[in-house]
Symmetry: C2
Subunit: 418 residues, 2 copies
């Protein structure tokens, strides 16, 4: 589909999705975690606003991601669920049960409106973010002419071995919170509200560093043990957000669907790390593959974690950062300068029964206003050239259009269905 859309950056566009400290730590990717020493974050994140929360919100500790399918053909039922979801999400993100403060109780002859497991827990910075998958715009709901051109299924990419049970979806819900029970509660209750109209297609739990117990660690480490997010652009880098993330932002591609103005696209990739192989690799090999020092996070061309990459530097006649190093191939400098906003969580789902090895890695979420010119070309390059690819396998995938935020009194879907 890239040929059908204007590229704003000439031939070599792409995005530094994957970079700094391993997979998903683009030298130009955008911030998703508070820096060490920053004040304790507020306990609630506003649900209403021009943008959806959970995109530039500093990454909370826990993720529950659900892809869902719509099981009705009545578009009114879908719109009704989205409206009820908006009300429930607005309530839950303030730490209040679905249905209001009494939602866990109520009349004896009725099921409670709220399932109750988060009752008396704080909001824990809960955010709930909605996305629409390409399949929502098929013939079922009369939405075909409302599909943005950028919302096209991802092409086959090198390095992937997708599990068909972890791909796609008509909708997605991303719940993030500093308490896993709060994040789970949100998704569970939205799924419950949608019963009969939507059903879960696949789900993923993720964990990050727990910031409340890790003030000493400025940049969290992924399951390869490398710092991940060093060069992530911060949420306050508004010019980058305008150009690379928000649909219709300053410097962004032209808007083809007005209802998406102020939204963004979400690409989710379940990236399994072959940790047994990785753990057997010598330190020097690990650092060559990533292009950074493991302990400090410094690029191999420098000495400090936050030193800029020097891709031209040589040591003893050889490039300090290997030609196949992940940070080189993922760097904005080698990808037309494009940046994206990422939000990665470690995951482990126990054993892969086929091999007896750990099924663990990174659940990689990336936001951008032009995924087929940002994520796709970079991943195509990484999948074929990156030395890290030997240790990774993409096993799940989805692309979703995240509409702009819900204004007070409004609802998800209002723009799409109006």
């Amino acid at each position: 589909m890239s040929s059908t859309r204007p590229s704003r950056r000439g031939v070599l566009t792409g995005a530094a999705v994957l970079g700094a400290g391993g997979i998903g730590a683009g030298a130009g990717a955008l911030a998703s975690r508070p820096a060490a020493g920053s004040p304790a974050p507020a306990r609630t994140v506003a649900f209403h606003g021009d943008r959806q929360a959970g995109i530039t919100t500093p990454a909370q500790d826990s993720l529950v991601f659900a892809a869902l399918d719509v099981t009705t053909r009545r578009v009114g039922d879908l719109a009704d669920v989205l409206q009820r979801w908006s009300a429930a999400a607005a309530t839950m993100t303030t730490g209040v049960p679905v249905g209001g403060p009494g939602g866990v109780g109520g009349a004896a002859e009725e099921p409670p409106q709220d399932t109750g497991e988060a009752h008396e827990l704080p909001a824990a910075n809960l955010t709930v973010t909605l996305g629409y998958g390409p399949s929502l715009f098929d013939e079922r709901f009369g939405l075909a002419d409302r599909r943005p051109a950028a919302l096209e299924e991802l092409p086959a990419l090198p390095g992937e071995q997708l599990d068909p049970t972890k791909v796609g979806g008509d909708l997605c819900l991303q719940a993030c919170a500093d308490d896993p029970q709060v994040a789970f509660h949100a998704v569970r209750n939205l799924v419950r509200i949608g019963r009969g109209t939507v059903r879960v297609r696949w789900m993923q739990l993720g964990f990050g560093r727990t910031s409340t117990t890790s003030t000493a660690q400025s940049t969290p480490r992924n399951l390869m043990g490398f710092k991940d997010g060093t060069a992530n652009v911060r949420a306050e880098d508004t010019a980058d957000l305008e150009e690379f993330v928000w649909v219709g932002g300053r410097g962004a591609p032209a808007v083809d669907q007005e209802w998406m103005r102020g939204g963004t696209y979400l690409v989710a990739r379940r990236i399994r790390m072959l940790v047994e192989s990785w753990d057997r690799a010598p330190l020097g090999e690990q650092e060559r593959v990533i292009g950074r020092a493991k302990e400090s996070g410094a690029p191999l061309s420098g000495t400090g974690e936050f030193d800029a990459l020097d891709l031209d530097r040589t040591v003893g006649g050889k490039p300090a950062i290997d030609v196949a190093a992940h940070v080189r191939l993922a760097a904005p400098e080698t990808n037309g300068g494009v940046k994206m906003l990422r939000r990665g969580y470690s995951y482990t789902d126990g054993l892969d029964l086929a091999t007896g090895q750990l099924d663990a890695g990174l659940f990689f979420i990336v936001f951008g206003n032009d995924p087929h010119q940002q994520f796709v070309p970079v991943q195509r390059k990484l999948g074929s050239q990156d030395a890290l690819t030997e240790y990774l396998k993409h096993t799940g995938s989805g692309i979703f259009a995240c509409p702009p935020g819900v204004r007070p009194g409004g609802a998800w879907g209002a723009g799409l269905f109006s």
Copy 2:
């Protein structure tokens, strides 16, 4: 096997494993979480001591549980792994990488000793607890005559529908920490150390309430939305621990294997909650099934969460606590007064692909010095009479003998192999 062992409590022995607020919240079960208002817990839990940590330690926020099989027949290799595990666990529980402070780095030509993802994270109250399964005492290692009589496979029990990939194991490792990445790191590194000698058979992640963000909630709620742990006996109830938990404690059954003195038995049950059915049940039905009020946690015979059960109280000629209510059937009063120490974590593993329903519930760990007289009879009764059973399915199971603690300079396995 119960007929071959003396019962110390007459005909009706059993344990209030399951009770107060739902599954696993026995009216007589033992404490596993700090009470609200208690001071912030210390950040490290001592690894060495007379008892293993992670048993009476107040439950941390996250669990990684692994059952493992031994893949060698050389008992010396197994003893060697246990020794190396002891050293690694002692190090990791102080927040230091495996191999010491430099363990994430080292020589370029060697794999680092530590995988690194917990580097710079605090210890987060990490505990690592080891158990031996009955199968370890088969013919392979010459340990048959060292098997305690209590370490016998669990019989078939009503209400279970076990997944054969989540049952049994020669060994278990229970890692608990206030940061999921710290708990995962511990198990991953121990598994790595044991490679070639042991391999993971099954694994389970669990989450609880996140105590660091939930000072308002004294008793956490399980995924049925009920308070769970109200009547859990606290770690300071040393007389109960002696009688019901520690092997060789005051009032406990006679010790048949000296190496187990000061240890205990761990029963793990993966209890799936049929949350979709539960969520459709009216509040009155949910409360009748549990025997407690959902909002307050008070028994239906009283008004306050911590009121004692009054099993004889009637309201309008009917028992205030239903004859089939979970708290009645699980109460010590109806089970010969027996208590056990429990440590429950919520879990969710995404979707059950066969039904499209959530695979979520309680990973229930219970400690006791006489599991076939404690857990087994109570579960047999609950599985056949408890109104709650309709909403539950036991899908995973294991029993393990947890030896006493490791003294400084000692190692796991020292008692067993000596």
